[in-house]
């Protein structure tokens, strides 16, 4: 059985090389890497610092006055509370928030998206300049800088790109490949040999998982991402579980179509609704409410936690079972359609 699966998986990889699908799988990480290099390398245009202040904040009146008077440098936005302010910052409406530290009006905490960024330097320099011009004291108004993100954009975007890779293989590559094998009667040809239907299915799923792992590794090689051993294993476990889930789902989508053209269309119809709500859930309350019902979010959330917050596979057992469950159900459906020679 394993021998047949290996032969068929190798055949699928050879097909992917021949019809350039493998280039697509490798092109996406390369493209992502190049774009992120450009994004990371570009200097943001800071002409005016958009600073957020809390409406109920106990600020020193002199500080407010000096910020207001420096209107060439600062634009002030009044925010209802700190949580709203953090959302405002994450949605990139502003550059930083000044929050009074404790009960005294003396000191402030500066909340920024990233600590090591041009915006943060500009805010600290400008606020310090104002404070020294007004009071001439060596003690700064900003006594603490609190970043919302611990790392750069490349790192922050990585879970989204990984989700995109997994969904591209699952809903763009595999449905078209399955439909092509049906359309050209190649699958029927293979079923004229002593292979079991389940062997063909496992080979296709293996091809999907291998493609996803290769693409993810390629992306990590390009971005020089560091892993701890535990984090790496947890990440691999979810890559394999996600690969299994979305490969099986994609194969099922392929089985619902008679031609490659219809498989591509149906694949995109699944791809976008699974990608966007999950990837954008952090930025919208509505999407945050909808996304947990999607299998893609059950992959995205743990991957994000493992990659960015030091999470572990043990923290997400339900998500792991959900992915394996969806994979198993869609595999069973594909098996039934295959047995009936559905649309072949």
């Amino acid at each position: 059985m394993i021998r047949n699966i290996a032969i068929l998986t190798w055949n699928d990889l050879a097909i992917a090389c021949q019809n350039k699908t493998l280039y697509l799988i490798l092109f996406i990480p390369l493209f992502v890497f190049v774009v992120l290099q450009l994004v990371e390398g570009s200097e943001p245009d800071i002409q005016k610092i958009n600073i957020g202040l809390l409406e109920q904040g106990n600020y020193r009146p002199e500080m407010i006055q000096s910020l207001k008077s420096a209107e060439q440098v600062f634009a002030i936005s009044w925010l209802p509370n700190e949580a709203a302010g953090q959302r405002w910052l994450r949605e990139r409406h502003g550059d930083g928030i000044l929050v009074p530290k404790g009960t005294t009006a003396e000191d402030c905490t500066l909340i920024v998206l990233e600590k090591a960024s041009l915006q943060t330097v500009a805010i600290v320099e400008s606020v310090t300049g104002l404070q020294r011009a007004l009071e001439g004291r060596s003690r700064d108004w900003i006594v603490e800088i609190l970043p919302l993100q611990e790392s750069g954009l490349q790192r922050q975007m990585l879970p989204t790109w990984i989700l995109m890779l997994v969904l591209v293989v699952g809903f763009i590559v595999l449905p078209a490949q399955v439909a092509e094998e049906k359309e050209k009667k190649l699958l029927l040809g293979l079923l004229q040999t002593p292979i079991r239907e389940v062997e063909w299915l496992l080979a296709k799923v293996s091809f999907g998982i291998i493609s996803i792992v290769i693409a993810a590794l390629f992306l990590h090689l390009l971005t020089s991402f560091d892993f701890s051993l535990g984090g790496g294993l947890s990440y691999l476990a979810f890559l394999i579980a996600g690969g299994f889930c979305f490969s099986a789902f994609g194969i099922f989508v392929g089985f619902l179509c008679r031609t490659q053209a219809s498989a591509r269309t149906l694949g995109v119809l699944f791809y976008l609704p699974l990608l966007l709500p999950s990837a954008l859930a952090d930025y919208s309350k509505t999407l945050d409410g909808v996304a947990p019902f999607l299998p893609s979010y059950q992959f995205y959330r743990p991957i994000k936690s493992i990659l960015l917050e030091g999470g572990d596979v043990a923290d997400y057992p339900l998500e792991l079972f959900a992915l394996l469950g969806v994979g198993l159900i869609t595999s069973l459906l594909s098996y039934q359609l295959m047995k009936r020679r559905w649309l072949m």
Binding site: I7, A14, K185, L186, L188, L190, Q192
Partner: protein
């Protein structure tokens, strides 16, 4: 080898297909299945080749049930009208892939390449071959596991005269080697020169089953090609 078909049926939504059909085939027969388009010839061959799942009926080849797919594929070789080969791979790769899945030694691939005069083309991609050569590869692949029964769905469809003659010679050679063959055809001259038994299908049912002499003397032949 005996093929025993009992009440085999497959009906599509358009009410076309195969009505409950029964017949037997003995070793060494070369049977032509003839009839108009939509008469049920291809449905019958595809059911026997495992391309379609029957609605009802029982098919046994040397006692092996058609539902026992993994055993039956070693007994039946099916050559479809359009060769279903991996186009972007070489002739040799196509044969080797199937040989591996059948667990047949690779020497058999070389023998097949030689037997079917495909050795010079072994490294050519299938998509670069003519239809006649593709058909030869397809036949060679069907014979890899040395099945006792071969099914050909319109084997010379779309081929020129020369290639048609070549395929006829191949069929005769395969038949002489002791194989039992069922093939569908529209061509009276092909049926006349090859078949040892003729079955005529009409609206999913077998309406004639007899020798070529009986067939060509009957009104069925005259009506079919009138």
């Amino acid at each position: 080898m005996t093929l025993d078909i009992h009440q085999l049926s497959k009906v599509y939504k358009e009410e076309r297909g195969l009505q409950a059909t029964s017949f037997k085939v003995s070793k060494g027969e070369l049977i032509a299945v003839v009839g108009h388009n939509g008469a049920g010839k291809s449905t019958l061959l595809k059911l026997l080749g495992g391309w379609l799942v029957p609605d009802d009926g029982d098919v046994r080849i040397d006692g092996i049930d058609l539902h026992n797919r993994r055993a039956i594929v070693r007994e039946i070789g099916f050559v479809p009208e359009t060769p279903n080969l991996f186009d972007f791979f070489s002739v040799e790769y196509n044969l080797t892939l199937f040989a591996r899945l059948f667990k047949i030694p690779s020497s058999r691939v070389v023998d097949t390449l030689m037997d079917f005069s495909l050795f010079p083309y072994r490294r050519n991609k299938v998509q670069m071959l003519s239809k006649g050569l593709k058909q030869r590869v397809s036949i060679g692949r069907a014979l890899l596991a040395n099945p006792s029964l071969l099914l050909f769905d319109e084997p010379t469809s779309g081929l020129d005269f020369e290639m048609t003659q070549e395929i006829h010679l191949l069929l005769k050679r395969i038949h002489l080697s002791g194989k039992t063959i069922l093939f569908s055809s529209h061509r009276p001259e092909e049926i006349k020169s090859l078949a040892t038994r003729i079955m005529v299908m009409h609206q999913g049912a077998i309406v004639f089953d007899g020798s070529p002499d009986e067939y060509f003397e009957s009104h069925i032949h005259q009506n079919l090609y009138a």
